[in-house]
Structures are given as C-alpha cells and as structure tokens.
C-alpha cells in the first residue's frame, strides 16, 4: 500500500534496509543463539545518522526533517525489525530512554544529554519495572531520598532493555512513599555513578540480541539537577513516555510480521508437494492473504497514530494503545502462521521464522501488556460515551 511517505522518510527506509542486509541478516541467528547485544550494529546505525531522527535539530538531530519524529521512529523500527526484532529493539529502547528528557527535560538536561544520543556516543534506557511493579507502576519501591543537592537512590529495577549497554538511564523512583503513584519522580542516572551497578542478565525466549538486565542502586548519589520535571511527576513522565513510544512497539511488531510473511510467501512459492507449489493450494493461499491483510491494517493504524503525534495532537493514549494491541496480536498470529506454512522446516533453526515467532511474543507483553492496553482503550471509550450522554 502506498502511504505517500516523504522522500526523507523513504531515505530512512532505504538506509535501514541497507543496514539490515549488510549488518543484521548475516549475524542475526548467531546473536540470537549467543544471547548477545551487538554494539557494532548500533554504531552502524549511528554512522548512518539514525539516532537523530526523533530528536530536534536544536540538539543535533533531524526530527524536523521528517515532520516530527514519530513516523521516522516507526519507519526505522519497522524496517530494522523485518530483519531482527531484537536488534531493532536496541534502537527503539534508546528512543524510549531519551523520551523523558525530550518531553520533560529542562533546557540544560536536553543540551547535556541529547547530542551524545544523536551521535551514538551514548545509549539510553528507560527503567520503570521492578520485581513487584509490572503492570502496576504504582508498586515501584526504588527510593530517591533528597539529601542537600543530591538524591540518594536505593532499590532494584528489573528487565531493563539496553541495561548494562547504555550510559544514560531514565529511572522512575519514589520520592514520597506516602503518596503512592503521585510520590514517583523521574531521574537521569549515568553509567559509572558510584552505587549504581548491573545485576542479572536475562536469558530470554526471544529478542535475544537485545540486552535485558537488572539495575541495582545502593546508596547511589545523583545530583539534584538530574531530577526530570518536578518531584511527584514521575508517573506522568512514565505514562506520557510510554504513550509516545507505543507506536514504536507496534512498528516493531509489524516489521517482525512482515519479515515472517516475506519468508513464508517465498517458501510457499518454492516448496513443492503433491507435484505442485504449495502456494497453489487454497489453504495456504488464504493464510497468506489473511497475513498480508492483517499486516497492512496494523500498518495503516500505526502510521495514522504516528502521524497524529507528529501533527501535534496532545491526547493519543487510546490510539497509541490500539496500535500496540492490534499490531502485536497480528505479529503473533502472522509469525505462528508463517511457521505453519514452512511446516517442519519452519520449526527448525535453519529457517528464520521460528525466531520471528519467539521475537513476536514480547510485543504483546512489554510497554504495557495487551490486557492493560485494552483497559486503557475501554476506559477511554467509557469516558467518551459518558461525555456524549451529558
């Protein structure tokens, strides 16, 4: 389908396709097997200028050129995800880590941190989740206690993408335990700060080329100027950040699904059984047709939401949740069907679709599970309905 992308957005697509072909496809199976993050590939993205596409020209980026940055981020994430959802996540999680600074950071914070993210000299990560705070972000227990010009952090963050690889962490911590979610605040913590260390490296089902790690804070003193926005704004920072980044997860899901469909369609055109190409069987044809249609619908929804954000719309939590839910469910279905079309070969590691199926699963879980997203959509709908009744 023709989305009438600008020439600049097409440039992003071409560049990502080039990186995928040259740097990702040859090593994706190995990185998956070895559960290994590749800084070299992230560097290739920096060399191409990809880390600046969602950051303003004021800080060295180029988001204005793409009419915002949401579409740019989606196009890049989708194209990279076609080749490897894990490597694409390292890219997208960098944006997730940068967003609190981009959206809520002070001028000084933006000037200090964003240029290094654009150049790729530094990577970012976003740290909200804890062992007892998953869907319920209000359950965060990591404390940040003010001490003169410093905050002292204590606690553990879990399953942090780019953990151990990033240099800049945006961390949600409790500054006022008596106020629950309203007692949360957002901070910037730099790698190497005394009292900040890395814990367990996760051994995951999929997206294994992305690093997922524990962050441990033990009397970690950070300058008070590293507070993002104000004390008590942590929950809002986290929610707005996730609303903004969810179309990126949708794009990741679409990319993974498209990659799987491409493999399945090609395989079906080559594989012969009963003396015929298997894509001559209607049973296979209908599966392929549904996969293609679902992907296109997910893409159309996701691009619409991204364009809405780029156009300056302020409220898009429902739409962003819809894109994420729909695209991730499509990705799970399409990758499962792709394995089916490849039959036993699809189940083997020699073919990339089993990895795509494993990679797809996470998109239904992180950045708010699909159950939570459906709650967001439903509560928005209920509010809209109530407003109409008045």
């Amino acid at each position: 389908m023709n989305y009438y992308l600008s020439e600049e957005l097409n440039d992003i697509k071409e560049i990502c396709a080039g990186i995928a072909e040259k740097h990702i496809i040859p090593v994706r199976a190995l990185l998956d097997e070895e559960n290994r993050f590749s800084r070299e590939i992230v560097n290739a993205m920096s060399d191409a200028g990809l880390h600046g596409i969602y950051i303003s020209e004021e800080y060295g980026g180029s988001s204005e050129m793409f009419g915002g940055g949401s579409m740019a981020l989606c196009i890049a994430t989708e194209e990279l995800s076609k080749a490897c959802g894990g490597i694409a996540l390292s890219f997208a999680a960098n944006a997730l880590g940068a967003m609190p600074i981009m959206i809520f950071g002070s001028e000084e914070q933006k000037k200090k941190y964003l240029p290094d993210l654009v150049s790729g000299a530094k990577l970012a990560a976003f740290a909200l989740t804890e062992p007892d705070a998953g869907s319920d972000a209000g359950g965060v227990r990591t404390k940040a206690i003010k001490d003169g010009d410093y905050y002292i952090l204590n606690g553990t963050k879990q399953w942090i993408t780019n953990g151990g690889e990033a240099q800049i962490y945006t961390v949600i911590a409790l500054t006022d335990p008596s106020r629950g979610a309203r007692g949360l605040s957002a901070f910037i913590v730099e790698d190497g700060t005394p009292g900040f260390s890395y814990g367990k490296k996760e051994d995951k089902m999929g997206i294994r080329a992305s690093a997922t790690r524990e962050l441990i804070f033990e009397d970690c003193r950070i300058p008070a100027e590293n507070l993002i926005a104000k004390e008590g704004y942590g929950f809002i920072v986290a929610m707005k950040t996730l609303n903004r980044s969810r179309p990126g997860v949708a794009a990741q899901a679409i990319g993974i699904a498209q990659g799987a469909l491409d493999e399945a369609a090609r395989y079906a055109s080559e594989r012969k059984q009963f003396g015929k190409r298997i894509d001559s069987f209607q049973g296979i044809q209908f599966m392929l047709a549904d996969m293609d249609t679902q992907i296109e619908a997910a893409r159309a929804l996701t691009y619409s939401v991204a364009r809405m954000i780029d156009a300056g719309e302020k409220k898009y939590d429902k739409e962003s949740a819809m894109a994420k839910v729909f695209a991730s469910d499509v990705a799970m279905k399409v990758t499962t069907d792709a394995v089916q079309i490849l039959g036993g070969y699809g189940y083997m590691k020699e073919y990339p679709v089993e990895k795509m199926m494993r990679d797809a699963k996470i998109t239904q879980i992180y950045e708010g599970t699909n159950q939570i997203q459906r709650s967001v959509i439903a509560s928005a709908l209920i509010k809209e309905t109530a407003a109409r009744r008045k």
Binding site: E7, E8, D11, I12, E14, I15, G18, I19, K22, A44, D47, A48, G49, L50, G52, I53, S62, M65
Partner: protein
C-alpha cells in the same frame, strides 16, 4: 588531497544481453546501478579523505541518467560530482572514454590521485584506468588490494597479482585501480542522502572540455566492435557402460588417440 573517483553506471545484472546484430549491449529494461567495483574505489577515496582531509570528486561519463550513480556516491560521502554527458560522446570506445575522463581531470585541476574500479561489470575491459593514466601521462598502479600509505608526496600500494603481490611506491599524481580486497564500502548516511538530493551536479560536454570532434565518441574511437557473440558451448559428452578394465582402455585410447590401433 584532491581525489577523483571515476564511476560508471552499469546494468544490474551479471548477465548482460548482447545485441548480436549491432554488436552492442542491450541496456533497455535493465535497472542501472553503480558499478560494484567502483564502490571500493570510492570507499578508498573517502577513507583517505577522512584521514588526510581534502575533497573527493566523483565523475562519470554517460547519458543524463548516469547522474543517479553520482548522487549515490554523494550519499556515501563524496564532496562533489561532475557528469560528462554530450550526444557527441556516444559510441566511445575505451580510448575515447578515458581521453574524455582524463580531460575532465585536467580541467578540475590540482588533482593528486585518480581512483577507478578494477573493471566495469558490463564492458569488463579493465582498460579505462590505465588508459586515463596514459592520456594524462601519469604513473599508474593497477589491481590494488591494499593502499598502505598515502601522503601529499607519495603512495605505497600493494598490487595483487596471480601468484602473490607487488608493493609499488609512486609519486603523485597517480592513477590507481582498486580491487574488492581493499576495503568494505560504507553505507549511505541520512545526511549524505539529503545532500545527494540537493547537490547541483554540473554537466560538462565536449565544448566545456574543449575537445575536438575527432577525439570524442564514435568519431574519436580508433577501435570498432566488429562482432560480439556468445561462444558456443560444446557438450558432446559420451556415456559408455562396461567393466572397469574395458572402460579404462577406452579412455586411455581416446586420450592417446590410439582408438583404431
């Protein structure tokens, strides 16, 4: 350092079809790409420019569409581009092509080094580089797989030849033809692509180069392709069945030409 890279637009296929009657390549309907070898020449130029400073100028002789490969080269990092295009250039053989390219290099002025690919995947002669050197009366180093040193004064380069390599030192200016072994070409960057879209590419014709009619195109070409044909492949194999001794004798006789003895 001012480096020129000569780049050629070629059809995107290893199997170029031939118009047997006209003795030319059939280019219609085949997408065009930057000659793959030229991307190594370009990377070598960019690498040394990044290290030593200076300017990389890409030049191509061809029809107006050849501008596309120049823009691609700019997207990878070339600083300037020049297209040599003129109806009068049509039908040039390797001599006329190189002479035209060499004249453009002279017009650019103060060039330290001209890089070309090893060969073009369509024409395949590998003559253009050496012939540019001849036309400019500069030294040349061909089939270079490794440029060891480059400075304002000299170059030290390793030629990969059939049974080893030769290390050659030459003064500048010099013409060097580059092999795939030399480097891994970089990918275009976003900035490069933006610049490539906007950059003005001057088009130089016969008059800009002050070349007389008889030195360009078909008229300036001392050679003519008289005939191009795909060699016939003989696959007249024979299959014999029998005992090993019998078959061995048959084969020996056939090899020794003693069948009838």
């Amino acid at each position: 350092m001012r480096i020129v890279v000569a780049v050629k637009q070629v059809p995107d296929t290893a199997e170029v079809r031939i118009d047997e009657e006209r003795g030319t390549l059939i280019r219609e309907g085949i997408p065009s790409i930057l000659n793959p070898f030229d991307s190594y020449a370009l990377e070598e130029a960019l690498k040394w420019r990044d290290e030593l400073g200076g300017t990389v100028i890409v030049v191509s002789m061809g029809p107006p569409q050849a501008e596309a490969v120049l823009r691609e080269a700019v997207s990878m990092g070339a600083d300037e581009a020049v297209l040599l295009s003129d109806r009068a250039f049509a039908g040039a053989d390797t001599w006329a092509t190189s002479h035209t390219l060499a004249t453009a290099v002279e017009k650019m002025g103060n060039i330290d080094i001209v890089l070309t690919g090893k060969q073009a995947i369509d024409g395949d002669t590998a003559q253009t580089g050496p012939s540019i050197a001849a036309s400019l009366d500069w030294p040349q180093i061909t089939f270079v797989g490794n440029v060891r040193e480059l400075s304002e004064k000299h170059i030290i380069a390793e030629r990969y030849v059939e049974d080893g390599s030769e290390v050659i030192k030459s003064s500048l200016p010099v013409v060097v033809t580059i092999l795939k072994d030399a480097n891994i070409p970089r990918l275009p960057s976003l900035k490069g692509k933006m610049r490539a879209r906007k950059i003005e590419i001057p088009v130089w014709g016969k008059d800009d180069l002050e070349l007389p009619e008889g030195e360009v195109g078909l008229d300036g070409s001392p050679t003519r392709v008289v005939n191009i044909a795909t060699p016939e492949i003989f696959t007249d194999g024979q299959i014999h069945h029998g005992e090993p001794e019998e078959l061995a004798k048959l084969m020996a006789d056939s090899l020794l030409g003693t069948e009838d003895s």
